[in-house]
């Protein structure tokens, strides 16, 4: 116990010398930079988040306008390939602003009048060579559904629409294609375009399908 005052006095001297320890040079500046710098980084992050938000909104508005401009004809996406008969008509509920396809708008330009057939007051078909689309309406033309057989080769298309359910398509490669394949493939649907099947291939020496004979349902070369 006789060393207790000695310990306390030694402690006081020891702590007093420690309290005189100088802080590292530039400590205040470093701390200010770190603490206040983090405040600025928070502000920067907030600004960056706001910029991203504005960009996303602008992008969304742009995409929306682009879709509106491309939606002159409101058609559903192209059906699945004919080899898997799962293609189905996806009716579009919203009536189109222009109920009939306009030649100069969208992906259906310059349809020949002969490829537009109304088989009844409500049901009709529309297609055309060079468009690579077959459309079908069941409400008098207010809405059009894309019932194109996805597996059909792109090129010259000739169609024949017998009634509301039965239709045929004869297609060949586009003239000028870098191939000597001039065969003509024929597709048929019997359920209004929901499913298409390839009914045959006609090997032509030269030429493109020009018409389908309703009786024989065979393409004839022009």
């Amino acid at each position: 116990m006789n060393n207790r005052p000695d310990l306390e006095s030694r402690l006081r001297a020891y702590l007093s010398s420690g309290a005189r320890t100088q802080a590292p040079s530039g400590m205040e500046g470093r701390i200010a930079a770190r603490v206040l710098g983090r405040r600025y980084s928070w502000a920067f992050q907030l600004l960056a988040a706001a910029a991203v938000l504005v960009l996303a909104i602008g992008l969304g508005v742009g995409v929306s306008k682009l879709r509106q401009s491309n939606a002159a004809l409101k058609v559903s996406p192209r059906p699945t390939p004919i080899v898997t008969p799962t293609a189905s008509v996806s009716p579009t509920a919203t009536p189109s602003a222009s109920p009939t396809p306009e030649p100069s708008v969208g992906p259906y330009p310059l349809m020949a009048p002969t490829t537009f057939t109304m088989v009844s007051v409500s049901t009709g078909w529309a297609a055309g060579s060079g468009t690579d689309r077959i459309l079908r309406t069941s409400d008098g033309g207010a809405d059009w559904n894309d019932v194109t057989p996805r597996g059909a080769r792109l090129g010259n298309w000739i169609t024949f629409f017998l009634d509301a359910n039965n239709a045929w398509l004869a297609s060949s490669l586009q003239p000028g294609s870098p191939t000597s394949d001039f065969s003509v493939e024929i597709y048929r649907t019997s359920d209004g375009g929901r499913n298409w099947s390839r009914t045959g291939t006609s090997v032509a020496g030269w030429g493109f399908p020009g018409a389908i004979d309703p009786a024989g349902l065979k393409p004839t070369s022009l």
Partner: protein, 162 residues
């Protein structure tokens, strides 16, 4: 010099850092006995203070408030080995760390827990009562009294053996 000016913006806070960080460093160093860890404790103190800077209405209480934060930060500071290595070439540690005039006591003091060191430093160096030490550390007065008693016992044993 105490913080008496109403400080509410970044410039004012920066001036507060320059005024108070030296004293806070001394408190932290008396507990931690490490220059870089003491600077870390001061920095964490200022970070915490900045978050609540505008909520402290009374500028007269800021100095005591900062000291309490600093003591508790020093007690809870994690040892960061890698940052200390990275900082080693940047800090003038030779100048900052003084030569110990009582190396035996220094060795014994460093063996104490941080809580024990805090009670001893606040009581013997800064003159706080045991109850005030307990308030600053954030423990019960009995606990602070126990820290002090055990610390003194440990140091007496160490010094008798050396």
């Amino acid at each position: 010099m105490a913080l008496t000016e109403p400080i509410s913006d970044a410039d004012g806070f920066e001036s507060a850092i320059r005024m108070e960080s030296g004293r806070l460093f001394a408190v932290a160093y008396s507990i931690l006995r490490d220059v870089q860890e003491a600077e870390d404790a001061v920095q964490e103190t200022m970070e915490l203070a900045w978050r609540s800077w505008s909520t402290l209405r009374d500028p007269l209480k800021r100095a005591a408030w900062l000291r309490q934060i600093c003591v508790r930060r020093a007690l809870r500071l994690r040892r960061r080995v890698l940052p200390r290595l990275w900082l080693a070439d940047r800090l003038d540690t030779d100048r900052a760390a003084p030569l110990q005039s009582d190396p035996d006591l220094d060795r014994s003091y460093r063996r104490l827990t941080r809580q024990q060191r805090a009670v001893i430093a606040l009581h013997y160096e800064y003159g706080y009562t045991i109850d005030e030490c307990a308030h600053l550390i954030g423990c019960a007065p009995g606990t602070a009294r126990s820290h002090l008693a055990r610390a003194l016992t440990t140091m007496r044993k160490d010094l008798q053996n050396e």
